[in-house]
């Protein structure tokens, strides 16, 4: 123990000095109480530590595990080595000075583990500021947190959890026993009873003694606060006791995922409003002279504004509290009981304040704060952020080792854009599936259909990591799974596999190859001599239509419209030129000038929704809109397997985010783009959307293998497809 925690001894000594300094210090057993917030990363081998320290300390030294320690709000004013406990933590709320040292020691110990945090309070704020344990906590926890979250623009959903949990815990502790002080002896049992954590029975004993003491005092102060606390807080307790919190100013970030995982169930037990109320109450309790520095607020970057106010506020509470605690410690003020009582009064006042008041107080407390939570990239926070995929990153996937190499190859081809386009990706996926199924062997004791489905799910997860699924792929997978589900359990494996592969081949043949042929034959009728046809980016089906028309001897010209950053129109241009078609090539911005000379517009699609909205490459909608404005007919060529039954209203709800750095690279542009180094500029974000939703009103006609249909007939086709699928039922093809 000593060897493990030399700092602890140091802390103890400090604690003792501190105790002596504190007036009227009550000799308190040198136990350290902390509250492990569930959701913190699990500490390794905690049980051994717990048993050892049953007698003296009830905190676990989680070799770096981030266990925030909840410090009672009264301890904010207490003078600690380094930092004051944040008010959040205040659930322990031991106003008694005697307890303070005990709490103080905890942080010290934890501090030792982490760089310079010092006090218990610092442990919790650490959660808010995982990376830098410097005390002057950035006042803007929201931006800080989000900044730490990363620049993906997607705020991880668990951002709120650590801070919220922390706040919850104190509340929990406080509220737990709204019993009066006489209930003190019962407090420990109360604390412990809900704890299902059998792992810390010993630990529970130790803290209980202290808890009783501290809880008592805590209850006095925080009772009103407790009453406001969420009723479901008691559930937090078990986690807390389970691992007697070690306060370690942990790096919040790495722990967040873990925290989130474990704290998620607890948090959900409280309603969002309750959590919010608790946060506000705690923050208000801390009110007073908080000058949140604005340092971190500028660094929003792509992090997004804290994923919403709740996350921002949660973290702001944590960091601001840590900050205030730091201030209290730095002031070195002698936290006399008057201060404590002052705190108490504040605490009492705080719970009385409504949520609105607390919220109103919050901005007042940070007058200098100018957090810009506006960020267009946040609009896409619901979409997975772009992730660069490399061979190593793919191989590090947990299932990669067992995966068929063809799958890995496919994933890499998706990621780097070698295989692009809805149809091409779907085809490649089906071919890979055929390979996998061919070489698949059912493990003994398992049914083919179920295990194969599981296998496919693993494959699909891997592919999704490389690039999100296209609608065409999703449709195909759904039908494939239905087909696999219908495999007869008693059929011999080889036969079942053969039939399955046969069905997949037939699906490809019918839905893709034959459909394309019919589609081209249909659309070619619309290409007449003397036409000037406009097309956008690359669509294999439109390219086929135009080359077929040229082969039939029609004379026409093609205008290829291209756009950044993909510049797929160049591929289309090459293909058309190879067929000897006279082409022009323009950028999307020049479209309004050339569209007057265009006679028809042929576009491809990635998917068509049931309200006629056409999803295509970004820029498709602009082309259709301009053509419509000049009264040019727009024909969308799309096979029916890309139809989807959902309804899409705009381009934001369903989309795909591409590589933002693709915007910065300007081939052929003299010099470097001013956007270079955008990651370091706090207020600059880049957005690279892959898809675009074209409203049905711009579409004159949709050409499918069934013929030419108006956009309003898409649900009819979908309905017929569903009927066919159910009619063929479990029998046969996909």
């Amino acid at each position: 123990m000593d060897s493990k925690k030399p700092d602890l001894h140091r802390t103890s000594s400090r604690r003792s000095t501190h105790e002596s300094q504190v007036e009227g210090a009550v000799p308190v057993p040198k136990t350290i109480v902390g509250f492990h917030v569930d959701g913190a990363s699990p500490s390794p081998a905690t049980e051994g530590l717990l048993s050892k320290e049953a007698g003296r300390s009830s905190f676990t030294e989680g070799g770096g595990s981030p266990t925030p320690v909840i410090i009672p709000p009264t301890f904010q004013r207490e003078r600690f080595e380094t930092r004051e406990p944040t008010p959040q933590e205040g659930s322990a709320g031991a106003s008694s000075t005697g307890v303070a040292p005990a709490f103080g020691s905890v942080p010290a110990g934890s501090t030792s583990q982490q760089s310079g945090e010092g006090s218990i309070a610092s442990g919790i704020p650490a959660s808010a500021r995982p990376k830098s344990l410097d005390l002057p906590a950035p006042d803007v926890p929201g931006p800080n947190t989000t900044q730490q979250q990363g620049n993906s623009g997607v705020v991880p959903p668990f951002v709120t959890s650590p801070a919220v949990v922390q706040s919850a815990v104190p509340g929990f502790e406080v509220g737990k026993p709204p019993q009066s002080q006489p209930a003190q002896p019962s407090a420990p049992p109360v604390h412990r009873s809900p704890s299902p954590a059998a792992a810390a029975p010993a630990a529970g004993v130790a803290p209980s003694s202290l808890h009783g003491f501290s809880v008592n005092s805590a209850q006095q102060q925080t009772q009103p606060q407790a009453q406001q606390a969420q009723p479901s807080l008691p559930q937090q307790q078990p986690q807390r006791l389970q691992q007697p919190p070690v306060q370690q100013p942990q790096k919040q970030q790495p722990q967040q995922p873990q925290q989130q995982g474990s704290s998620a169930p607890k948090l959900k037990e409280m309603s969002k409003a309750e959590r919010r109320a608790l946060q506000e109450a705690q923050r208000a309790a801390k009110a007073g002279g908080q000058k949140d520095q604005d340092g971190g607020s500028r660094k929003e970057g792509g992090g997004g504004g804290g994923g919403g106010a709740s996350a921002g506020r949660a973290h702001s509470v944590a960091s601001s509290e840590s900050h205030s605690s730091h201030r209290g410690g730095a002031a070195g003020g002698k936290e006399s009981k008057s201060a404590a009582t002052g705190q108490k009064a504040e605490d009492k006042g705080a719970p009385a304040a409504s949520l609105g008041d607390a919220a109103a107080k919050a901005p007042k407390r940070r007058p200098a704060r100018k957090v810009v939570s506006l960020n267009s990239t946040e609009l896409f926070a619901h979409l997975p952020p772009y992730q660069k995929v490399s061979v190593s990153s793919l191989l590090s996937h947990k299932d990669a080792v067992h995966m068929h190499p063809a799958v890995l190859q496919l994933g890499l081809r998706y990621a780097d854009g070698t295989i692009k386009g809805a149809t091409a990706r779907c085809l490649a996926m089906l071919h890979t599936f055929c390979q996998v199924i061919q070489e698949y062997v059912t493990p003994p004791g398992k049914s083919l259909s179920r295990d194969l489905t599981h296998e496919l799910n693993t494959i699909i997860d891997l592919l999704v990591q490389c690039r999100p699924l296209a609608v065409s792929m999703a449709n195909t997978i759904r039908r494939l799974k239905m087909r696999i589900h219908s495999i007869d359990v008693n059929a011999p494996e080889a036969e079942a596999k053969r039939a399955l592969i046969e069905d997949i081949r037939r699906y490809i043949e019918v839905q893709i190859i034959a459909a394309d042929r019919l589609l081209v034959d249909c659309a070619v009728q619309k290409v007449t001599d003397g036409d000037v046809i406009l097309t956008f980016a690359y669509s294999h089906i439109v390219a086929n239509v135009l080359t077929k028309a040229a082969a039939l001897g029609r004379t026409f010209k093609v205008m290829v419209v291209d756009c950044r950053p993909e510049l797929e129109g160049q591929r289309m241009l090459e293909k058309l030129q190879a067929s000897g078609i006279a082409c022009s090539y323009i950028h999307l911005n020049a479209l309004s000038f050339v569209v007057r000379d265009v006679t028809k517009v042929f576009l491809g699609a990635a998917a068509i929704m049931s309200n006629g909205t056409v999803m295509g490459r970004a820029g498709n909608a602009a082309v259709a809109m301009t053509a419509h404005a000049h009264s040019k007919p727009v024909l969308v060529c799309c096979e029916s397997f890309k139809f989807h039954e959902r309804v899409q209203l705009d381009s934001i709800t369903h989309n795909e985010l591409g590589d933002p750095d693709a915007l910065v690279s300007l081939p052929g542009y003299p010099g470097v783009s001013p956007l270079a180094g955008w990651q370091d500029i706090p207020r600059l974000g880049l957005l690279n959307l892959k898809y675009d939703a074209m409203p049905a009103e711009y579409v004159t006609m949709i050409v499918t293998e069934y013929g030419m249909i108006p956009p309003t007939s898409v649900p009819v086709i979908l309905r017929e497809q569903q009927q066919d699928a159910s009619a063929s039922g479990g029998g046969g093809g996909m």
Binding site: E574, Y585, L663, V664, P674, L675, L687
Partner: protein
């Protein structure tokens, strides 16, 4: 008048010729520099030559104006300034009947530049509310000054479309971000998608025509159509020197500036388009 012209005929004619050459070679870029240069020429005309009466002055101004405008027909600011000068001359002639109109001319160039800036500054805050999303395309000094001034009192964010193939949207995005405004840079293809979330569109223009149309860098028509579809207000920020009394029947052809294809299609692409020989 003949003597007056002979005083420094070559120098003034040289000055005019110099300016025309610069305009033709696109050495003077942008409406404001062209307008300023034209105003300087006008002032030089007044100071370098003596004119007995308003009629002769008007003739001279018109002659020089035609020359300058012919040097760059696309640059409507040149003609606008000349017309303003003519208007001032006629006003003066009506009111004062004096033969020295140098004073009126001096006020023209300075007043324009300053007045524009002040007006922009005052109106920025009026038209933007908090938490707004402004969409803009490319680079415009007017828009930049407008937004920067408004950002002092309002908190909003700007979405900048890059405006290929000039890519000056990159510069605009960078400048706005450096000025402390939250900026998102998007490619032109995403304008339609982002228009759904934009509250206003603020753009600069090259010129504004008498029928209310605006000539602006390529891509503005698409932005305007998208704004119309989403019922988003489109605001064009221009200085007075860009307001033109012309009614062009086909501005796309008459007032368009065509640049080389290398910015859009590099040499390899162009080579592929050549007839294939064995």
């Amino acid at each position: 008048m003949a003597e007056a012209v002979k005083e420094k005929p070559s120098s003034f004619a040289e000055v005019v010729e110099n300016c025309c050459a610069q305009l033709r070679r696109r050495q003077i870029q942008g409406s404001l520099p062209c307008a300023k240069r034209t105003a300087e020429i006008m002032r030089a005309l007044l100071t370098m030559q003596r004119h007995p009466d308003a009629a002769s002055l008007i003739d001279d101004v018109r002659a020089v104006g035609y020359k300058l405008q012919a040097a760059k027909p696309v640059e409507l600011a040149v003609g606008n300034i000349v017309r303003r000068v003519l208007h001032l001359i006629r006003e003066e002639a009506q009111t004062e009947k004096s033969d020295s109109e140098a004073d009126s001319n001096d006020a023209v160039p300075q007043g324009k530049a300053d007045g524009k800036q002040d007006v922009m500054k005052s109106q920025g805050v009026e038209h933007l509310h908090a938490n707004e999303v402004i969409l803009t395309l490319g680079m415009s000094d007017t828009t930049y000054a407008f937004l920067r001034e408004a950002a002092r009192k309002r908190e909003f964010q700007v979405v900048v479309a890059e405006g290929a193939p000039r890519y000056d949207g990159h510069l605009q995005a960078r400048k706005l971000a450096d000025a402390g405004i939250q900026v998102t840079a998007i490619p032109d293809s995403a304008v339609f998608a982002m228009m759904a979330r934009a509250n206003k569109v603020l753009v600069g223009a090259h010129a504004v025509l008498a029928n209310g149309g605006a000539i602006a860098p390529a891509g503005i028509h698409m932005v305007a159509l998208a704004a119309h579809k989403h019922s988003t207000p489109l605001v064009v920020l221009v200085g007075l020197h860009k307001l033109s009394p012309q009614f062009p029947h086909d501005p796309d052809l008459l007032y368009n500036d065509f640049r080389g294809p290398a910015e859009v299609a590099d040499s390899d692409m162009q080579a592929r388009g050549l007839p294939q020989h064995s």
